[in-house]
Amino acid sequence: MRLVVDNLSKEYRGKVQALRRVKLTLEAGVLGLLGPNGAGKSTLMRILATITQPSSGRVLWNETEIARDPDVLRAVLGYLPQDFGVYPNLNALEFLEYLAAVRGIAAAAARKRIGELLELVNLTDAAKRPLGGYSGGMRQRVGIAQALLNDPQLLIVDEPTAGLDPEERMRFRNLLSELSGERVVILSTHIVSDVEAVATEIAILSHGQLLAHDSPESLLASVSGRVWEVVVPSADLGALRLKHLVSSTAHRTDGVHARVLADAAPDRTARSLEPSLEDAYLAALSRQRHSTNGLAT
C-alpha cells in the first residue's frame, strides 16, 4: 500500500492559501503530522479523506487518483475528523451498527468487530446509553471506534486525543502502535508527545508548507549539539529570549533553568542536552520564521 501526495495545494475563497505544493510518499507505518494551529493539517487530512477537493496537485492511493475515483480509497479508509457529531438518540452500539451498514460490512463480521471495538475503547459498559448523554471524551472514543470499523488500510486521525484523559490517551497511543504494522496511519496533532510515542515518520507543516518529512531519528540528529541548558536570573530571561529560541523554562533556587536552541553554547556555563522531538519541531518552525523574515526584509 502506498499513498502519494503530489504537489498538493489548496486555496480557499478569499485567497487563503491553506496548502502550498505539499509532497509526501507514505507506506505502512505511522506518520505524525505536526504543525501549529492553522498550519493546514486539517485541510490536508480532509483532502486525504476525500472530503475536500484540492485546488491543484494529486493524491494517489495505490496508483489510483482519489479525486477521480474516491470510492477506491473510501472502501479502505478509516477517518476520525477533528470535529464530528453523533446521532444523540442512538446508543454507541446502534451508531456503530449504522456506520458498519453504510460501509458495507457484513452483519456477522460487523457485530463481532463492534463488540471488540467497544471493549477496546472501554465503552462496553456504556454501549447501550444514548450518545446524547456522552461526555466529550466518551464521544471521542466512539469516533475512534468508528474509524477502525472497517479494518482500514489507511487510517487518518485528526487530533485524536483531544478530550481524552491521560489514561485513555496512552491507551490510544498503544493502539496506534499496534495497528501500524500493516497499514498507513496518519496522526495529525499539535501535541508533540503524542507523535513522539508512536510515529515512525514525522512531517512538519506550517503556513501550508511542508517544512520537514523524515524519521524521528533524523529530525533529532538535525538538532543534535544545538540544545543547551542555561541558568540565568529571572530578570535576564527576557534578554535571553530575545537572543535565542527558548523552548522551556523551570524556576529553581539557583535561577531559571532555560532550555535553549542555539548553534553555539549561549555562554560558558551552558550545558549541552540530549535533543527532544519538541526541540526539532521548534527549530524547524524557527528556521521557517527566519527565512520568511529574511525574505521580507
Binding site: N89, A101, R103, P130, N150, D151
Partner: protein, 533 residues
Amino acid sequence: MRQLRVIFAIARADFLERARRYSFFLTLLFAVILGYSAATGKITIRLGDYRGVYTSAWIGIMVAMVTTCFVSLVGFYVVKNAVDCDRQTGVGQILATTPLSKSSYLVGKFFSNFAVLASMVFILALSAIVMWFFAAEDPRFDLWALVSPFLLVALPAIALTASLALLFESLPVLRGGVGNVIWVFAWSLGIGLPELTGLPWLDASGLMTVSEQMMAAARTTIPGYTHGFSLGINLEPVTVAQTLRYQGIQWSKEEVFVRLIWFCVAFVLALLAALFFDRFDPACSLVPLLRRRKPQDQSPEAGDVLTLAASVTTARPPAAVHLTLLAGAAHTGAFGRLFAAELRLAVKGLRWWWYVVAAGLVAAQFFAPLELSRGPLLGVAWIWPILIWSAMGARESRFGTNELLFSSAWILRRQLPACWFAGVAVALLTGIGAAIRLFLAGQNASLMAWLAGALFLPSFALALGIWSGSSKPYEGLLTALWYIGPMNRTPGLDFTGAANGPITLRYSVIYLALSAALLTLAFFGRARQLRSD
C-alpha cells in the same frame, strides 16, 4: 443604560452574524421575487371580480399585505434559530456564565429577529415604489399612502412573528419540528380569527382593517359590488374598476393606537419567553434521563486476531482486546441491511404513542368509507410522519456526521437510496389502509395517485433536506401544501390524489415526474457535498 447597551450588543452581533450568511441573501432574494410577483400582477388584491386602479395607495396596500402575509408566515422559519444558533455554536455556554439576564438576552434576540424580517419588509417597500413607476395607472404619487401600510400593517405583524419565533424556541416542546408544523396552524388561526370572532382587536395581521376599508370604498364606487376580498395568486382574469381610485386607509387615532399596541404585545411575548428559556442548561432539555445498564460480558472469540495489550493500569484494568481482521468477503453487506439501518435511524426516538396513532390511522383508512379513507384520513396519515421525512438529507448537517459518513464508500449508490427507500417505506406503511381499499375497489387510477404521493413525500424531503441542510423548509412547506392540498381539496396540490377527480391519472404522472426530478436534485446535491471545494 447598561442594560440597553447589552441588548443592543446582542441584537447587533446576532443580526450581523445572520446577515452575513448566504441564506440571508436567499431570503432577500425571496422578498424580491415576491415584490416582482406583486408588481407583475401575479399576486393581487381582488374585490370580488374587480380590482381598483393602481394608485399609490392601492399599490402600497397590495404589496404591504403580500409582505405581511408571506413574511409573517415564512419569516418565522427564517428567524426561528436565534437561540438555537448560540446553542449549536457553544456561544450560549459562554453567555450563560456572564451576568446577562435571560430577559435582556431574549429582548436582544427579539430586536435581531425583527431587524432581519424588517429588512425583508424594506426590500418589498422599495419594490412597491419601483412598481409605482412602472405600473401606476394614476399619475399622482402619494408617498404616505404608499408607505404607511408597511409601517402600520406589516411592521407590527412581523414584530409579532419575531417574538413568537423566540417563544417557540424557548418552549422545549415547540423548539423542534413540532413547533415548525404547529406554526402553520397558529398562523392560519391568527389570520382567520378576527373574521371568525368579529373582534377587530385580534387583527394582528391588519387584514381585517384593510379589507373592511377597501370593501367599504368599493361599495360606494363599484355599482353592484356587495362584498368579496381576496389576496393571493391571480389565476383568473380580473376587471379593473375605473371608478375605484383608492386613496388609502384612513387611519384614525384609535386604529394607529391598536396597530402600535401589537409592538408592545410582541415585546411582552419576548419577555414571556424568558420564563421558559433554559439559559443553555442542558439539564433542562427534554432528553430523558439516561439509564445505566449492567455491563455486558463480551469476551472476544478465537480466530484470526490481532492482539492489543493495553499497558496502562486502569481502575478496571482493560483486558487484552482482540480485533478480528476483516477479510475481503466481510465487505459485502447487503443493501437490505443498510435499508433497515436507515429505517431504524429514521424512527429512532419516536414514542409508543406515535405508533399507536399511526396504527389507528391505518385501521381507520381500512374501515372508513372509501372517500373518507383516501381523502382526509390518508391526508392526516401522511402528515403524521412529517418529522421522520423532514430529517432526511438534513440529518448529517444537523448532527455534524457529514465527515464520518461522506468519507465512506458508495454513499451515492447505497446510503442515499437506502435513506430514500426508508422514507418511502414510512409513506407506504402509514398509507397502506387506503391502498388496500383502493385495490379492493379496483380504482387503479387512484391507486396510482396514492403511489405517486408515497414517492413524492420522501423525494421532496430528501431534496430539500440535502440542499437546505435543515429540516425546517420541508416542515413549513409540506404543512402549507398539506393544508392547501389535501385538507382544502385543491386539485393538483392534493398529493393524496383524492381531490383530482377525473384527471387523477394525469396528476399522478406529474407527481411521479416531480418525484424523479426531486430525486435527481437530491442525487446531485449529495454528489456536490461529497466533492466539496
